[in-house]
């Protein structure tokens, strides 16, 4: 009895710390304290779980030593591997890392359900159904996250599509549901094995098939959705384990993850059904193609113009991070600021490969967060700004999204960089962006292209403004 109270209370403390931690994480000032509090909660509840060893079922008692040994080894292996990967991963690769860790959580929930379904316990219909639903969601989250990782990591380059895919996926989903019902009905009978194993196979396959056709640009929304899925699976498995801590933590993540997904989808002007069931970029073959010619300029000229401007807004995109040029950019910005130029960073909600990813990348370079502005806060300022400097961004500043109904990105909110008096674009070449759409901004009269690798161009810009002195 005593052990149960201890374990139960440890879960209560942990849930409290998790909620506090999440709340604290919603402001940059308290965020670090938040994750640390949640970390202590987790450490505490995992340690307390070992008290359950005094309380295991009689049938499992002969295996006690082996089971504990396996548990400790698995804990060590899992945390060492993930800790090492987490410490060494590049900030640019963060989205795919989050996808992997999320998939692991989904897999863990599915494995937990599998262990319960393997046994021959006396589980009533309701908890049994909840377990199977949790297993389904966990499996989708596992295999879906792995595909998302492969796509973000560039291992799968093109969306995989074939005609009749939607019908195929629908049929697969129906089959999975039928197998799930069979699994519940046949539980603890001699014929339980076949539908159960098929069910797990089908659920994993469903995750793969759901994710394959979705384009790279929608991947962040999808990862966030799978994050919510894993939370939901954890919550449902918590019910079968009779553990309110799992239920609370899982459901809090499930609902906050759903909200976060909706916010992201809204930022891209895509509904969730749109992301899941329509093929991005398919509507393309768009319209006429832009008119006019691109004007190109020398980095030094562009830098000089900005140096003598009163205000500059910088629009960084993923290309900046790929060129590893954030440090150089900040060096350039510091010189401009010292010369009295009002410099701001404008971040599109989906800049980078995940909402907020660009903020992380800029923070890594040392840019203070009060120089960085969200789209809604800065969009009106472009019209009164002397120069906009766009680096490695394309689709998020494409005015076609506002005007051209035939464009695949029509309706996506953009940064109004095209309204600035002068627009500079640092770009590798004249190619299209992630979505494969041509950008008419680059052909505008007030727009000047500075071709080249961002790192090299920014180095030249730094040199140029340094040569001008600080007055």
């Amino acid at each position: 009895m005593f052990v149960e109270y201890c374990v139960g209370l440890s879960g209560l403390v942990a849930s409290g710390l998790f909620i506090y931690g999440l709340k604290a994480m919603s402001s940059p000032v308290t965020a670090v304290a938040g994750i640390v509090a949640a970390g202590y909660g987790m450490l505490f509840v995992v340690a307390a779980t070992f008290l359950n060893l005094f309380n295991i079922t009689p049938e499992a008692r002969p295996n006690l030593l082996v089971n504990v040994g396996l548990g400790v080894v698995a804990l060590l292996l899992g945390s060492l591997w993930a800790g090492w990967r987490g410490r060494t991963v590049q900030m640019t690769s963060m989205p795919q890392m989050v996808a992997i860790f999320n998939g692991m959580g989904g897999g863990s929930a599915a494995a937990l359900a599998a262990v319960e379904l393997l046994g021959n316990h006396d589980i009533p219909l309701l908890p049994l159904s909840v377990t199977v639903i949790g297993a389904l969601i966990g499996c989708i989250s596992l295999s879906g996250s792995l595909i998302a990782w492969a796509k973000l990591d560039g291992r799968i380059r093109k969306p995989f599509r074939f005609s009749g895919q939607r019908a195929f996926n629908a049929a697969l989903f129906a089959a999975t549901v039928v197998l799930a019902v069979l699994t519940v009905m046949r539980y603890a009978t001699p014929s339980a094995e076949l539908p159960r194993d098929l069910f797990f196979g089908a659920a994993l396959l469903l995750g793969v098939c759901m994710t394959l056709p979705i384009g790279g640009a929608d991947m962040p929304v999808l990862i966030s959705l799978y994050n919510a899925f894993t939370g939901l699976a954890v919550g449902l498995e918590g019910y079968i384990m009779n553990d309110p801590a799992l239920m609370i933590a899982g459901m809090v993540v499930g609902s906050s993850g759903t909200l976060l997904t909706a916010l992201m989808a809204k930022a891209m002007n895509r509904s969730l059904t749109n992301v899941l069931f329509s093929n991005f970029g398919e509507t393309g073959g768009s319209s006429k193609g832009p008119e006019g010619e691109m004007t190109a300029a020398d980095p030094a000229d562009a830098a000089t113009t900005m140096r003598y401007g009163a205000s500059v807004i910088i629009v960084p995109g993923y290309g900046l991070a790929v060129a590893q040029a954030q440090q150089k950019l900040y060096e350039f910005v510091k010189i401009l600021v010292a010369a009295g130029v009002d410099v701001k960073f404008a971040i599109h909600p989906v800049a980078g490969r995940m909402p907020g990813h660009m903020n992380v990348l800029l923070a890594e370079a040392g840019v203070p967060y009060d120089m960085i502005y969200d789209m809604e806060d800065i969009n009106d300022s472009f019209a009164t700004t002397d120069a906009a400097l766009i680096i490695g961004a394309n689709d998020v500043v494409n005015p076609e999204a506002l005007t051209d109904k035939a464009s695949p990105i029509y309706g996506m909110p953009i940064l109004n960089a095209y309204k600035a008096h002068q627009v500079f674009v640092i770009k590798r070449g004249s190619g299209t962006g992630y979505s494969g759409v041509e950008n008419p901004l680059f052909f505008q009269k007030n727009c000047t292209m500075v071709f080249g690798d961002a790192q090299a161009v920014l180095s030249k810009m730094v040199e140029a403004v340094k040569a001008l002195g600080s007055t």
Binding site: M1, I35, V66, V73, G107, S108, M247, Y369
Partner: protein, 119 residues
């Protein structure tokens, strides 16, 4: 199943789910978009609590198959927890305000008293 003091009816479970869902919604609803990535990663860390469920299942395993799947479950769960924590911590540690608001650092960190790695 563990028959324990925490046994609950399905209705009570629904109450918990409902309250937790509202909590998650309210806690997140006013987050600035600069924190979306760390927050996703942080909530990713929190659902890693599934590792204690997997541990309990493994502790009560009676067959080789249960042990094997339980082992995988604990491994994956532990990876979720550790990876989620490390990644979130790394990202959040980089966010800082302009220098004028920077607190005096040297006084806080005494030499020789290195910060211990959290869980």
């Amino acid at each position: 199943m563990m028959a324990s003091v925490t046994s609950m009816t399905f209705v009570i479970a629904l109450y918990i789910f409902m309250l937790a869902a509202f909590t998650g919604y309210v806690v997140i609803s006013r987050v600035p978009s600069i924190l979306h990535t760390p927050l996703m990663s942080g909530s990713n860390f929190i659902h890693g609590i599934i590792v204690i469920g997997a541990l309990n299942a493994l502790f009560n395993a009676t067959s080789i198959a249960e042990q094997a799947i339980g082992f995988v479950g604990v491994f994956l769960g532990a990876g979720n927890v550790m990876g989620g924590y490390v990644v979130t911590d790394r990202m959040l540690a980089m966010f800082r305000p302009s220098q004028k608001a920077e607190p005096a650092r040297p006084e806080q960190e005494k030499p020789g008293q290195e910060k211990q790695g959290q869980p």
